[in-house]
């Protein structure tokens, strides 16, 4: 069977104007990966590393500057909006901020029945209403919520509405772009559980974007780590957490304050980071404490450590992990 998503050598350059000066930002470069049906692929990295840009290109809310996107084996890179419409129905996206992603002037019923009309799934008002109620139940909301507006909900409930809207078209794949980052940890737990249940119930495939390693560990089968627009490591979740190979991945893990006060993760952040810079070398050089002469001269390629573990580093880590939270 075809991978449900396959991207090849994706690149995205943004042109911005600042006081008339045009500058270019390469937000994403050389990104290739596949997502198999039924898996949850995690995408992690600091803000600005290009995660959202990748997610938006997959569902064609953005067009890549170069590279290819195949959805269920079809190259959709150059399809226009009309030709892409059947895919739009099957490939959905949920954003971080439920406040801005839901039209404040529409009720839940209006918000959720719209995709049914737009995609010609159901025109009949009564039947639309029934379908909406069904999906509301799926996400833990009820009929009484139908006529409410987004601002009348708590943050967690609003994110449930956003998930419900994505589910209306019975998609096969959903990009979840930091769906819980704006929520308190208690409410985040509710939403993460819901997303796992929905996935099982509807045979969904997820691309799960987050900057929280704990969330990624809980949700994902496999993880991609992004740094400055590139994938720097890719591995099955278990392996990534037990033996991260890229210094950046380990750095991210060490940076998380552990809620167990007996597990201390003290590192000397102030002095650790040396001010190294190189135009040709590795992007991570300026923050790396393992740099070799090679790292200044050559940009590292993404190479295989094993069949399913890739890393972009001249001097990958070999020692065991710092992740202590397991079990």
């Amino acid at each position: 069977m075809n991978p449900i998503v396959q991207v090849e050598d994706l690149k995205k350059v943004f042109r911005t104007q600042n006081f008339g000066r045009v500058s270019k930002i390469t937000a994403v470069e050389g990104v290739s990966f596949t997502i198999q049906r039924g898996e949850t692929l995690g995408l992690i990295g600091e803000s600005g590393s290009g995660k959202t840009t990748v997610g938006r290109m997959i569902v064609k809310l953005l067009n890549p500057s170069s590279g290819h996107i195949k959805l269920d084996g079809h190259d959709v890179t150059h399809l226009n909006e009309k030709a892409f419409k059947p895919f739009r129905k099957r490939f959905q996206i949920v954003f971080q901020d439920p406040y801005s992603s839901l039209n404040p002037r529409m009720t839940v019923l209006q918000l959720l029945s719209r995709p049914l009309s737009v995609f010609g799934i159901e025109k009949d008002r009564k039947k639309q209403r029934m379908k909406v109620i069904e999906v509301l139940h799926d996400v833990g909301l009820h009929e009484e919520h139908l006529n409410r507006y987004p601002h009348e909900f708590s943050g967690g409930q609003r994110q449930r509405v956003a998930v419900a809207r994505a589910l209306m078209t019975k998609p096969e794949f959903i990009v979840l772009d930091e769906p819980t980052s704006a929520l308190d940890v208690s409410v985040q737990a509710q939403i993460l559980n819901l997303l796992r249940q929905l996935k099982a119930a509807h045979n969904l495939t997820y691309l799960f974007i987050s900057h929280d390693l704990g969330v990624i560990h809980y949700m994902c089968d496999r993880v991609l780590v992004m740094y400055m627009g590139e994938i720097v490591e890719s591995a099955p979740t278990e392996e990534l957490f037990t033996s991260p190979a890229h210094p950046y991945t380990r750095f991210l893990m060490e940076s998380i304050p552990d809620p167990d006060p007996e597990l201390t993760n003290e590192i000397d952040y102030v002095n650790k980071v040396k001010a190294l810079q190189s135009t040709y070398g590795c992007n991570f050089l300026s923050r790396c404490d393992r740099a070799l002469p090679n790292c200044f001269d050559r940009h590292p390629e993404l190479v295989k450590l094993s069949s399913n573990h890739l890393v972009r580093c001249h001097n990958p880590l070999k020692e065991a992990s710092v992740w202590k939270r397991d079990g």
Binding site: L192, H211, Y218
Partner: protein, 328 residues
Amino acid sequence: MSSVSAKVLEIKDLQVRFDTEDGVVKAVEDVNLDLFSGEMLGVVGETGCGKSVTLQSVLRLLPTPPTRITRGQILFHGENLLDVSEERMNEIRGGKIAMIFQEPMTSLNPVFTIGEQMRDVIEQHRRVGKRKANSIAIRALIEVGLEDAEVVLSKYPHELSGGQRQRVMIAMALSCQPEILIADEPTTALDVSIQAQILAIIKHLRQTHNMSVLLVTHNLGVVAQTCDRVAVMYAGYVVEKGEKFGVLKAPLHPYTRGLLESIPRSRKVRELRSIPGSVPNLIDPPEGCRFHPRCSFATEVCKREVPILEEAKPGHFVACHHWRRLGY
């Protein structure tokens, strides 16, 4: 440690109300918190539990109306800050007690350079001339890891990254040699790596300057890794407080426990425990224990009576009718 050092700040029986069109918001109820010399106290809880209101009350930053501080005292070395003149308060604010916020942009003026703003604050609180103020500012910036201090001083706030702006805020707070630093979610908007740096800086400064820190966060990991003691707030009340090891390793309140169990750790966990529902609107909060509608241990008494904060173990306080049943 805390029992032998001096209390620098005491929040006593604090009660805060907001008058709004929809009714009176019962935002803070009978909050009691002590801060000892040189210690770091964390205040945690979900959004809307009264953490910021409590902290802002300390420096009288809340506008009246709509705010009414209806009861309580804020004692800074025994002096009740709720009674002192506005003039005295201005001396204390930013001088003896400094505050930093989640979004530094809100407290930085966009039309002045960092240098102009820092020198102003330093001149006012340290009573020194421009020259001296400038060198104090440079030292403070270097201390928070902004090595190219002179360049930073010439920049406008928007020319800096989020992490740099937060460092500037800390440097600004620090340059007045405050006894107390109040930090309200100082790292919430930042990446974990930057968060780790900022926290390391705060910890370091607290040691070298013997500063006391009151840190608000909704991140229990941050508390575990930086604080000495922790207070957990729910819907306006302090529901548990004590040494971090006690509170985080053997929590006595179902709410604290729920927060800890909500933290995702591992894929091997079949389902995360979570706390059902959400923080109530504090205009019409639940009667009795405000947590009871979300609590799996709740019984009749919880619906009727507000539990008092009692000392369950030495130095470990909890406000729950059923803490004994929790089985620790």
